[in-house]
């Protein structure tokens, strides 16, 4: 029989960070039924937990030092186990980066949904984070592009010609326009100094 990989949860590794308690067994059982490999830890997550696919953590008595990463920086989806719905505890659980939650007492209910919701939220947060980093670096490169264009303008090109020249240069060097601009600006600053052979004579 060919295998289908519905949601790819088979063999995924989950750590449960919770003091030993009978209700944890309900969660352990259900994760096992779903097909995950389950480990328990308390009071701290060991460093090997960094390779986990999911972390379930106690929101009632948890604190920052239990995790081998900074709040909100988990490299995997995190699911908060919430007993006390007090604002302080909920704020901490959210600061730690809850991608989903389960209410105590844990049972056979809601576990599969929590896994899927957590992973979806985690993936979406990662994708947004990557997009934001990319946009930020493009934004900071804008000033460099303007300076590179100005170099050509100072040498007698129109603005349109200067921009076109910058684009052609980037293509010739097989780099992004941002990187080409950065090199041109650096070369111009050292015009009388080093010549790395990438200078373009704008004349």
């Amino acid at each position: 029989m060919t295998r289908i990989r519905t949601e790819n949860l088979g063999g995924a590794k989950a750590w449960i960070l919770h003091r030993p308690h009978p209700s944890v067994q309900g969660l352990v059982r259900q994760l096992g039924v779903i097909g995950l490999d389950v480990r328990e830890a308390w009071p701290e997550l060991p460093s090997e937990a960094i390779a986990a696919d999911f972390i379930f953590y106690d929101a009632d008595t948890g604190h920052d030092e239990q995790f081998p990463w900074a709040p909100g920086q988990s490299p995997m989806p995190m699911i908060a186990l919430i007993g006390s719905e007090a604002p302080g505890r909920l704020r901490w659980a959210m600061e730690m980066g809850a991608h989903a939650q389960l209410l105590k007492p844990m049972s056979d209910k809601g576990v599969y949904a929590a896994l899927l919701v957590a992973r979806s939220n985690f993936d979406r947060a990662n994708a947004s984070g990557a997009l934001i980093a990319d946009l930020q670096s493009r934004l900071s490169a804008r000033q460099t592009i303007v300076r590179a264009v100005m170099i050509f303008v100072m040498k007698g090109k129109t603005e349109a010609e200067a921009y076109d020249l910058l684009r052609q240069t980037a293509m010739a060097w097989r780099v992004t326009i941002e990187i080409a601009a950065e090199r041109l600006v650096a070369n111009y600053s050292n015009e009388k100094g080093l010549d790395d052979g990438r200078r373009i004579d704008p004349a």
């Binding site: 060919t2 289908i4 949860l9 056979d108």
Partner: protein, 358 residues
């Protein structure tokens, strides 16, 4: 001397899927008769029955009534997943156990439900494994508009994508609806290699009838196969001639032309499974289901239910309806259930090989 244990029955004697629930109900009562007449078992059952009449909102209150008023803890019943999900909170609240002897779509493992029929790694996946190389890879999916229809289509879609097949369309009909023009129009235009029919009850019979008319059209000369994981012998009368040729997957088909099919047989076997678990163990009916199974296994008894996820191990049989009877096409060995489709499917008996019966 037998001790008497009360059990509940929660199956509809009327409504849109009455043919199915009547088969299930007959199976339960047959099982009870057999257990009560069996002198080798020290337990006999007394039935407390409620009839939800196929109405979804009646299941939870009637389940509560059985648990609270009759003292019975083990209930045999429910046909649709919707009704099963309705009663689970009642089972939790009043410490009941549901014996659920019909096929379902998986993705559930309540500690209070004995899943006694088959789930997709025991019906749909083997069926598609057979269908894709045999019939072709252009699939059309049709189902009743609730969780059974939706999830069967979802799993089929994933499976067919892996096999590089094509989903030509998927359509859902409200329970009991027989307005099929748009679906028949699709099929006439698209000419799929097969149709996965996950319609339930009257919608299914109407669909099969319309499809038979379509096949009579001269321009629709090619036959189109209809597959199902929920059509059994108990619906042959209701569907009539139109069901001929349908290919079904399930854990059991009638060997001698009986009309109950696996709905009847798995219900009957569920009663026997409980009787076996309670035999010689007074008070065991009060144990949580997992504990009941674990202790039975430790004392060397065989159980059909898996003590971890409480699903039955089952063979997967694929059969075609010919002259009013299902003839086996293929039989896969007894396999552990994989309700979340995350395990590798492993046959229970490592020695048995795939048999092709023509």
């Amino acid at each position: 001397m037998k001790r008497t244990v009360g059990i509940g029955v929660l199956l509809s004697r009327s409504g849109m899927y009455a043919a199915l629930s009547r088969a299930s109900r007959d199976g339960v009562f047959r099982g009870v008769e057999e257990v009560n007449a069996d002198p080798s078992l020290d337990v006999s059952f007394r039935v407390n029955e409620r009839d939800p009449e196929g109405r979804l909102d009646r299941y939870a209150p009637l389940c509560r009534e059985i648990l609270r008023d009759s003292g019975a803890r083990h209930i045999f019943g429910c046909i649709t997943s919707a009704s099963r999900k309705e009663v689970i909170p009642e089972l939790e609240r009043f410490d009941g156990i549901l014996w659920y002897p019909v096929p379902y779509e998986g993705f559930e493992a309540s500690e209070r439900v004995a899943y006694m029929h088959a789930c997709p790694n025991q019906h749909l996946l083997p069926l598609l494994d057979w269908a894709l190389p045999t019939l072709g890879t252009r699939a059309y999916l049709v189902g009743s508009n609730y969780i059974w229809g939706w999830e069967m289509a979802q799993i089929a879609r994933e499976k067919i994508a892996v096999a590089e097949g094509q989903i030509l369309g998927d359509r859902y009909l409200p329970m009991g609806d027989t307005e099929l023009d748009h679906i028949i129009h699709d099929i006439r235009t698209l000419k799929p290699s097969f149709i996965l029919n996950s319609l339930v009850g009257d919608s299914s019979y109407a669909f099969l009838a319309r499809l038979t008319e379509l096949k009579r059209e001269t321009e629709f000369a090619d036959d189109v196969a209809v597959l199902s994981c929920n059509f059994t012998e108990c619906e042959i009368d209701a569907a009539g001639e139109a069901a001929e040729g349908l290919v079904s997957a399930g854990p059991w088909f009638e060997p001698d032309g009986g009309s109950g099919g696996s709905f009847h047989e798995m219900a009957r076997q569920s009663v026997h499974e409980l009787a076996q678990l309670l035999h010689g163990r007074p008070g065991a009916e009060e144990l949580p289901l997992a504990e009941l199974l674990h202790t039975a296994l430790r004392s060397g008894r065989a159980t059909r239910l898996d003590p971890v996820h409480l699903h039955a191990r089952q063979p997967a049989i694929i059969a075609r309806l010919e002259s009013g009877r299902f003839n086996e096409i293929k039989r896969l060995p007894v396999t552990r259930a994989d309700p979340y489709l995350t395990q590798r499917s492993q046959p229970v008996h490592t020695g048995s090989r795939l048999k092709v019966v023509s």
